[in-house]
């Protein structure tokens, strides 16, 4: 607060207060405080010496009442007030202004507080929103990641299952091929129910143990060989289909050729390898291989040459060629079972 009382003004105001009524020092202080709404709060250390000075000058006098000094104005004091009446009016106006100044001050003060609070809470609100959004976002991301992880696991399982199923499917195909072989002798029922030594095929997957053999593509020569065998099967089938119905003679001829070819492959390509585990191979292997390779033509020849059947059989034959072509040559020694069964 700027000095409320300029030079000599406080003295004048004290006289004015005591002109209204005789008062003791503390009352004067309180009146000053109230008049200025607490903006100006004179201390007793300011007021009492002033009152004492005014008394010395003969403007005031005091009575002792219950040990307290009650100040009252003297005629000399009133004279001074009259002399400075204009000044007193100015002072009154200034004080009034400073009182309405208090209202302004209060307003400014509150406004300032409110403004900063508003800003603070606006910021905080925005921050909360950001965090909430962030946490929702994080949650969404977590959910998404979990979902991805689950999907990945499912895919993995699916892949494993599929590779297992592939093995089984091959097994089935073989059975199909075997059935066709069986059917040729005529005992359809027996063949379906039969092929009883399916157990022998149960450990089909153990074929994977063949040294150097890999199921997965990209395993070099084996993969290429698979492709080669498959292509051969396809081409053979294509040739047969081109020729139309396959007569009994043609089938015999074909079997002869294939056996020849297989024989040559055995002796010329795998010759040295063959020497090691020879025993009984010449009997089992051709039967097995021929059986699976012959399946389709055999069926086509013996059954009705309906296109649907043919396609179906062709498919199964293709599978069986693909599946059995690999193990075929190796099957020779240790797995004569199925072949012998025919």
């Amino acid at each position: 607060m700027s000095p409320v009382f300029g030079h000599g003004r406080l003295r004048l105001y004290l006289l004015k207060l005591l002109d209204e009524a005789p008062r003791h020092g503390y009352e004067v202080i309180r009146l000053l405080q109230d008049r200025f709404m607490g903006v100006y709060a004179p201390s007793p250390g300011t007021i009492y010496p002033r009152l004492a000075r005014l008394e010395e000058e003969g403007l005031l006098t005091h009575d002792d009442e219950d040990g307290r000094k009650i100040y009252r104005i003297t005629d000399k004091g009133r004279e001074e007030i009259h002399r400075r009446l204009d000044e007193l009016d100015d002072l009154e106006r200034e004080i009034t202004e400073s009182v309405s100044g208090i209202a302004r001050e209060v307003k400014e003060d509150v406004r300032e507080t409110v403004r900063s609070l508003r800003e603070e809470l606006t910021w905080a609100t925005r921050e909360v929103h950001r965090e909430t959004k962030q946490s929702v976002h994080d949650q969404a991301r977590q959910t998404r990641d979990e979902a991805r992880e689950r999907a990945r696991r499912v895919r993995e399982e699916l892949r494993l299952a599929r590779s297992g199923a592939t093995g089984q499917a091959r097994e089935e195909d073989h059975r199909g091929a075997g059935q066709e072989q069986e059917r040729r002798p005529g005992d359809e029922k027996g063949a379906r129910r039969g092929w009883g030594d399916r157990a022998a095929w149960e450990d089909w997957s153990s074929w994977a143990d063949w040294p150097g053999r890999r199921r997965r593509p990209g395993s070099g020569a084996n993969a290429e060989f698979e492709t080669l065998a498959k292509e051969f099967g396809n081409e053979l089938r294509w040739a047969i289909r081109q020729a139309g119905a396959l007569g009994e003679g043609a089938l015999e001829e074909l079997r002869g050729i294939l056996e020849d070819a297989l024989g040559r492959i055995r002796s010329e390509v795998f010759g040295p390898l063959k020497q090691q585990g020879e025993a009984g191979s010449s009997e089992g292997a051709p039967g097995d291989t021929a059986g699976s390779d012959d399946g389709a033509p055999g069926e086509a020849a013996s059954g009705e040459p309906s296109t649907e059947d043919a396609r179906h059989d062709a498919n199964s034959a293709q599978e069986s060629v693909g599946g059995s072509a690999g193990p075929g040559p190796h099957d020779t020694g240790d797995r004569p079972g199925p072949a012998a069964g025919t």
Binding site: L31, R35, T96, A103, T113
Partner: protein
């Protein structure tokens, strides 16, 4: 009955005021609590002269042509303007009717009722009960206490500090901001159509909370409240502490935010308040 017609700056003192009624159009009015003799300071008057009566302790400041009931008549274009400061005991009930004057009320502890069209209302350290109605005027309060009721169309309500026993605020699109403590068993209710609501309570607050918004967001920094999002309502509900007080907010499209005030920030404001209080009294 004492009666004054005031057409120039004047100061009046009264021997006792038990109730205060003021009707003003524009300018500004301040009602300050003081322990000294009740006092009226008119700093400026333009247009019509003010009519001041002091009857059976009831101090009334109004205009000659203005009846208590003819409020709508005030809305006619007119040039009534006055700057008035009234100092009364703090336990004096006060009633103000304002068109667009700025209102400042400080330190009153009885019932303070303000009706304003577009004038802003500023309150400092007002306790007891506050009842404010505005069309578009804002209410800004600092260190409020007791019961606060506020109704407005587009005015905003801001309460910075204080301990409330009751807050009942209704706005259409006015924003409600309150940074307060809750008295035991306090009831804080806010309802807005599109106005945002932001309430900050001390971390130690104890209240049953129910905040809802039909299409706006409802968010909180308090832990342990249940946030639900459904079609048609977003809500935050639950119990803070032992749930002594009640806090509810509902809005159609506004955002409701319940913030937690951490102790350091909480200690700051009272300190400011007491310093100011000491200076003024």
């Amino acid at each position: 009955m004492a009666r004054w017609t005031i057409d120039q700056p004047t100061s009046l003192t009264f021997d006792g005021v038990v109730a205060l009624r003021i009707r003003l159009v524009s300018g500004s009015v301040a009602v300050l609590a003081g322990e000294a003799a009740p006092r009226l300071d008119v700093e400026s008057v333009s247009g019509q002269p003010l009519l001041v009566t002091h009857d059976a302790g009831i101090l009334t400041i109004t205009y000659e042509d203005m009846t208590w009931d003819g409020v709508l008549g005030w809305l006619r274009p007119q040039r009534h303007s006055a700057t008035v400061t009234v100092t009364v005991p703090k336990d004096c009930p006060t009633e103000l009717g304002i068109v667009n004057a700025a209102v400042v009320v400080s330190g009153m502890s009885a019932r303070t009722s303000v009706k304003s069209v577009s004038g802003g209302i500023t309150m400092d350290g007002v306790t007891g009960s506050i009842d404010a109605n505005t069309v578009s005027g804002d209410v800004e309060a600092q260190d409020a206490g007791g019961e606060v009721a506020f109704k407005t169309v587009s005015g905003g309500l801001t309460i910075a500090g204080g301990s409330l026993a009751r807050l009942d605020a209704k706005t259409v699109n006015g924003r409600i901001i309150a940074d307060v403590d809750l008295a035991p068993a306090a009831v804080v209710q806010t309802a807005t159509v599109s106005g945002d609501v932001a309430v900050r309570l001390p971390a130690s607050a104890s209240a049953r909370v129910d905040l809802r918004s039909a299409s706006g967001r409802v968010e909180t920094t308090f832990d342990g409240l249940d946030c639900r999002r459904k079609t048609g309502t977003t809500s935050v509900a639950g119990t803070l502490g032992t749930g002594d007080a009640r806090l509810s907010a509902s809005t159609v499209s506004g955002t409701v935010t319940l913030l937690r005030r951490n102790p350091p920030a909480g200690q700051e404001r009272p300190a400011v308040g007491t310093e100011k209080e000491g200076k003024r009294r």
